[in-house]
């Protein structure tokens, strides 16, 4: 969840995981802004596999700190990666490499605090050239927020995608949250904008603004104030509980969440038009 880094984060899924009270989850993402912090505070998380957990606007994630420092609400295990090395771990998982030799974390204590990373040397070099061997990472499920999809799950994404493609192909199952459902012809008009085709997708859900408060390029602006308020209101556990009741637990679904946001959500809707130049796929 949050493979795209700071945009297109599937917060609608975050909320539903909390409502369903799932536990012992392993949250895998390079950076997923406050999504992981919410899940930790709700006691859903046993393991965090990633590069960064916090609040991009506010800095620290209070729930992450409480869990890692004091075991509140429960202690968590942290599998440390850098962005590039977790990207390579997804790549290996996606493309059938049992492991991958990475140099970008040499010298970092990530190679010490993450016991799954092995140190080795390059067998093609006569000199002692160190490499870090990172095992393939294969998530069980990848949740993707996309701008538009047809009802088969053939989807278009644009803007920066972080590790979305590698994480999705590595995952056992892919669930698409589409901001808009369109006719198959719209997607088929531009097959190079497809990140993963429908036959690789296990479910497609129509959830407008599933990304809120994170942005979705061409669809929704980022709700900076929401991140800021979350940071202020979750400084202690009681504050988080109140926040979480109000925005997650006491709401039945994402439709109710959107209704609660009301005009605020409308003000984040992108109404401008900056269309891409057409690409011609004609064959004759």
């Amino acid at each position: 969840m949050g493979a795209a880094l700071e945009n297109a984060i599937p917060f609608a899924v975050t909320h539903e995981l909390i409502r369903q009270g799932l536990q012992n989850l392993n949250m895998i993402a390079p950076i997923s802004d406050i999504s992981t912090d919410m899940l930790i505070g709700s006691g859903c998380v046993k393991t965090v596999t990633g590069a960064w957990v916090g609040n991009v606007s506010g800095g620290m994630g209070h729930n992450y700190r409480r869990a890692a420092e004091k075991g509140i609400p429960n202690s968590i295990k942290i599998n440390d990666y850098s962005n590039f090395s977790i990207g390579m771990a997804f790549f290996a998982g996606a493309y059938g490499l049992p492991y991958i030799p990475v140099k970008s974390i040499l010298g970092s204590d990530i190679t010490k605090s993450n016991p799954s990373i092995k140190m080795s040397t390059n067998p093609f070099s006569d000199e002692l050239e160190p490499v870090a061997l990172v095992p393939a990472l294969k998530p069980d499920i990848a949740f993707l927020v996309v701008q538009r999809s047809d009802h088969f799950g053939n989807s278009h994404i644009w803007g920066s995608t972080g590790l979305t493609q590698e994480a999705s192909i590595a995952a056992e199952k892919i669930i698409v949250l589409a901001d808009e459902i369109v006719e198959p012809e719209v997607i088929a008009s531009d097959p190079s904008r497809v990140l993963i085709p429908g036959f690789g997708v296990n479910a497609v859900c129509h959830v407008p603004a599933a990304c809120h408060p994170s942005p979705l390029i061409g669809r929704w602006k980022r709700d900076h104030e929401f991140f800021h308020n979350y940071h202020q209101e979750t400084r202690d556990l009681a504050g988080f509980e109140t926040w979480c009741d109000q925005w997650v637990r006491h709401l039945p679904d994402h439709e109710a969440y959107r209704s609660k946001l009301g005009d605020r959500l409308e003000s984040l809707r992108i109404i401008g038009d900056a269309p891409s130049a057409p690409a011609n796929y004609a064959a004759e």
Binding site: E6, V56, S57, A68, K221
Partner: protein, 254 residues
């Protein structure tokens, strides 16, 4: 202070001076992105900005950014792509410099953004690495921005998130790192640079209205000075005008 600029403005302009024309730079948010904008408007009009989520831009975004993934950073970008593609420019030696910050830095330029205390049972859990280790290990030069406090500029960091010169000397090279390591640390009091065969951070310049003695008192190791240590050059009129053109609301002026 009679000066017509703030400390943060001075830091931004000092950072901008570290960017050369035509260079490709991992920018990051806030202070560095403003420094990048100043450099583009002054001496480095052809610099290129990179953002690890998968964005590369020529002109800085027109609106204030909170994250590199915000819409304004993507509209009119040179490239919106994946993290691997963008960070791959690092390993291909196509990136000249990268900006990073941190909670702790030590005298060999190693940076900690992960754990204060033991990583198995930390006193403070910091947000973590993001792409900083990748940039720190592979960019030709690393430009570090820090607040200058004794507990942040420490003798030895608790955890090396992003490697500087490790234990000093040629340890960095021996560890197989391809990039050049920290070239400069810009704080709110001074500018530090690695110096000598040990690659230890030395005081290179002190900001106007700051003394060497005060800086030493606020550094966690016995900070030495380079031979030609001097006062940081004040912002020029051109530099300040460029900064004010970007920072219309005066966010950095106080």
């Amino acid at each position: 202070m009679p000066e017509n600029y703030s400390t943060q403005e001075l830091m931004i302009i000092a950072a901008a001076r570290e960017i050369n024309d035509y260079e490709r730079i991992f920018v990051g948010m806030r202070l560095p992105i403003t420094a990048y904008g100043v450099a583009r408007l002054t001496h480095a009009p052809n610099a290129v900005g990179l953002f690890e989520s998968g964005v590369s831009r020529y002109e800085p975004a027109k609106d204030m950014l909170y994250t590199m993934c915000d819409g304004p950073n993507q509209l009119g970008a040179a490239w919106t792509t994946g993290l691997i593609q963008i960070m791959g420019l690092l390993s291909g030696g196509r990136v000249h410099a990268g900006f990073i910050g941190g909670a702790e830095i030590d005298r060999y330029g190693n940076i900690n953004t992960s754990y204060i205390g033991d990583f198995d049972d930390p006193d403070v859990k910091l947000p973590g690495s993001g792409g900083a280790p990748d940039i720190a290990s592979m960019a030709e030069r690393l430009i570090v921005i820090m607040n200058h406090k004794k507990h942040r500029l420490v003798k030895k960091v608790d955890y090396i998130t992003s490697p500087g010169f490790l234990g000093g000397g040629n340890e960095r090279k021996m560890a197989g790192l391809i990039g050049g390591g920290p070239a400069v640390v810009i704080t709110d009091r001074a500018i530090l640079r690695p110096y000598g065969p040990e690659n230890e951070l030395h005081l290179a310049a002190y900001h106007p209205n700051h003394t060497v003695q005060e800086i030493l008192k606020n550094t966690g190791w016995d900070l030495k000075s380079i031979p030609d240590v001097h006062e940081t050059a004040s912002p020029t009129k051109v530099e300040l005008e460029a900064l004010h053109q970007i920072d219309k609301d005066g966010f950095w002026r106080t």
